[in-house]
């Protein structure tokens, strides 16, 4: 595939690796924010190509992992209801709630369907007028334009049987939350390239300045990540803390104005609870008043839900880069992909799952 395969060139990967070795003189801790980047790092073994002085920590860039437990439990309650068709991206199906997960609800007769695009859920609503169709709108800013369009389209079509269960989260507030924490060790960031494709990177210079961290907008293929790391290390070695764009083939500084426009029409920014981290102000999205008829939380009148998080799961510490998966006593023992205690073991980019699947630290 063009614009993909070239960025997996082994010779260039080795050359970038050698360059990083050459310029690294001190130990540095770099966080990649995006789960897709974590996945690529572990799948392609990128961390094995880096000098030992560089420590990569995996950030909370997996919206699946950080979706609050209450939201998963709400999804499970809705999905189990008669006459509801519950649509979701595949990622969410195995994420454990307090008692069960969507896959189990499906097995017990719940009408749970995997969709590729939110527009597919709108079509299901059109084709099934006697059912309530609910779409689980999880994601970072990257998925917000698609989810916004789904609601916009549903309203244009006058659909009465469609709603969104919204659990959107925003990246820059999460980065700030990590940086402002007393136990923060992160010295440089690889920012999420596809989030920035939508939102641009104008929000990052104040963060870079305030916390004195270089922030590199980075893509997802091996050469992108290696180049992003090289650019980050160079800044750290030089004592600079600027925002740079590695992923120039997709990201413009202002992002995508059309996407931003619809997002701000359909969604508004609210405080959001992040699983394992807690509430971060101004870090989530919710539907605006204009679209409140499409808000599943309002439609299904779900009040407070009592949740039960596993006491042994330390995914919060892992999401903040404070601990590594193999430092968790339950890792690989009580907590495996077959019976996960927390979301970071289930999602294909959760740090714990990535470690387990690709490394199996012995």
């Amino acid at each position: 595939m063009k614009y993909l395969d070239e960025y997996r060139d082994p010779k260039l990967a080795q050359a970038l690796s050698r360059q990083i070795h050459k310029i690294t003189t001190k130990p540095w801790v770099i966080m990649e924010v995006c789960g897709g980047q974590t996945h690529a790092i572990v799948k392609f073994g990128i961390d094995t190509l880096l000098p030992k002085k560089i420590e990569l920590v995996h950030g909370p860039g997996c919206p699946v992992c950080v979706t609050p437990l209450e939201m998963i439990d709400r999804a499970l309650v809705i999905a189990a209801q008669k006459d509801v068709i519950f649509c979701s991206f595949g990622d969410m199906l195995r994420v454990p709630g307090s008692e069960t997960d969507l896959l189990a609800v499906k097995a017990q007769g719940g009408n749970v369907r995997i969709v590729y695009s939110p527009l597919d859920a709108v079509k299901i609503a059109q084709d099934n007028p006697d059912n309530e169709v609910v779409f689980f709108a999880v994601g970072f800013e990257t998925t917000a334009p698609a989810n916004a369009m789904a609601v916009f389209q549903a309203k244009e079509l006058g659909l009465q049987n469609f709603s969104l269960l919204v659990s959107h989260v925003l990246v820059p507030p999460a980065m700030e939350a990590i940086l402002s924490s007393g136990s923060n060790r992160v010295q440089g960031f690889l920012a999420a390239g596809h989030v920035c494709t939508v939102m641009g990177y104008t929000e990052y210079p104040p963060i870079a300045l305030k916390y004195k961290v270089p922030i590199i907008v980075t893509g997802f293929e091996p050469l992108d990540i290696l180049q992003g790391i090289a650019m980050c290390v160079q800044q750290l070695e030089d004592g600079r803390h600027e925002v740079e764009n590695q992923y120039v083939r997709s990201v413009k500084e202002q992002g995508n104005p059309y996407a931003q426009e619809l997002i701000s029409r359909v969604f508004c920014v609210i405080p959001r609870k992040w699983r394992g981290i807690g509430e971060i102000p101004q870090s989530g999205l919710s539907l605006t008043n204009e679209y409140r008829d499409y808000d599943a939380e309002i439609k299904f009148k779900l009040g407070d839900i009592k949740t039960q998080e596993s006491s042994e799961c330390i995914s919060g510490l892992i999401l903040q880069g404070i601990k590594k998966p193999h430092e968790c006593p339950a890792f690989g023992v009580k907590c495996t992909p077959e019976h996960p205690l927390g979301a970071t073991m289930v999602s294909s980019e959760g740090a714990c799952s990535a470690y387990y699947t690709y490394k199996r630290v012995t």
């Binding site: 595949g90 690709y358 490394k359």
Partner: protein, 346 residues
């Protein structure tokens, strides 16, 4: 074969009824006028509860498999062809010559009779192609809503006409691991027909019988240590099973694993790894390194082995692991997947 007419009165019974599995006249009519007509001829002694067979050898391979694929018909195949080839291939992996199959149907009430006839014709065609005979069977019908159209079970008998013992325990350090072609076609062909995930592609399932290509290897004296056909769970799962059974480390070089461009692209869109995607006409063979070139030539000269290549080797290590040399040169462990791969956005 498609021109074969059906003496069963489809117009009179356009849908399968519960009575067609009830043991009475309607079931008898279905068996005689559709199944036996297609798979015949009826034995001179008539149809009984069991078939008595004279086998040319008493070293026998025996296997069973059930088929629940949805949709029933997909590009490159259907449940009928799968049901035959799946069992033929399991037998072939011991190096057996497949001879006889049993056929068990569990049909959902209401299935269109035309669909059933189409599946039956496909089974017959696949059986003829593989050189096997359907000799016994069973038919049940379940209530509407309790089945997915049709489920099929096949069991198969084959005879072993060689002295090799083809099992994981016999793989040795240095063995070359050969594969007969590119991976992931079946899983992607199925995925492409699923609504909500559909995309346009010319990829067809690789559903095919492997007995002939395997017999060619044995005939020329290739000392096959182990074979496995790749089905659900893909190449990675088959390798892991063997590594565990043999207590050996297996190393694969990712750049040598053949993947067609469209399969790679479909996997990229869905977030799948082609190494875990289902196949139905692919197998791996562990052979001594000294025989690797000869074996490859045999495979490549067969219609089902034109893309054959060597993808890795067995190491000295006794840790039951599969390691992968990745395409950018870094190594990782290729683990067993815990469930199905689900399409992801993340």
């Amino acid at each position: 074969m498609n021109a074969m007419s059906c003496p069963f009165p489809i117009q009179q019974y356009p849908h399968v009824l519960l009575a067609h599995g009830g043991g009475g006249r309607l079931m008898q009519q279905l068996i005689e006028k559709m199944f036996t007509h297609a798979f015949g001829p009826k034995p001179a002694t008539g149809l009984h509860d069991s078939i008595v067979l004279n086998l040319p050898s008493n070293k026998i391979a025996f296997t069973t498999d059930s088929f629940v694929v949805k949709p029933l018909f997909f590009p490159g195949g259907d449940i009928g062809a799968l049901a035959v080839n799946g069992t033929v291939n399991d037998l072939s992996m011991s190096g057996a010559r497949p001879l006889y199959l049993s056929l068990g149907f569990i049909i959902e009430e209401g299935l269109s009779m035309e669909t059933l006839w189409r599946v039956v014709r496909s089974i017959k065609k696949a059986a003829d192609e593989a050189g096997v005979t359907i000799v016994t069977g069973d038919t049940k019908v379940v209530d509407r809503g309790k089945g997915d159209g049709i489920f099929i079970n096949t069991s198969g008998i084959g005879i072993i006409e060689h002295d090799l013992s083809i099992v994981p325990a016999h793989i040795q350090s240095g063995d070359a691991i050969l594969i007969n072609g590119d991976v992931g076609r079946h899983g992607i062909a199925i995925m492409a027909t699923r609504e909500n995930l559909s995309f346009e592609t010319t990829i067809e399932s690789d559903c095919a019988p492997l007995n002939d290509i395997v017999s060619r290897l044995i005939k020329v004296g290739i000392e096959i240590h182990c074979m496995r056909d790749l089905t659900r769970g893909g190449l990675a799962s088959a390798l892991n099973e063997i590594a565990q059974d043999a207590s050996r480390t297996i190393q694969i070089d990712e750049k040598f694993v053949p993947v067609k461009e469209q399969v790679a692209s479909a996997c990229a869109i869905m977030g799948f790894d082609p190494l875990y995607v289902a196949n139905e006409g692919r197998f791996i063979a562990f052979v001594p390194a000294s025989q690797s070139s000869k074996a490859l030539k045999i495979l490549q000269n067969h219609p089902l082995g034109q893309g054959a290549c060597c993808i890795g080797e067995v190491l000295d290590d006794t840790k039951p692991l599969v390691t992968l040399k990745g395409i950018i040169g870094a190594n990782r462990i290729l683990d067993m997947i815990s469930g199905e791969q689900l399409p992801r956005i993340c």
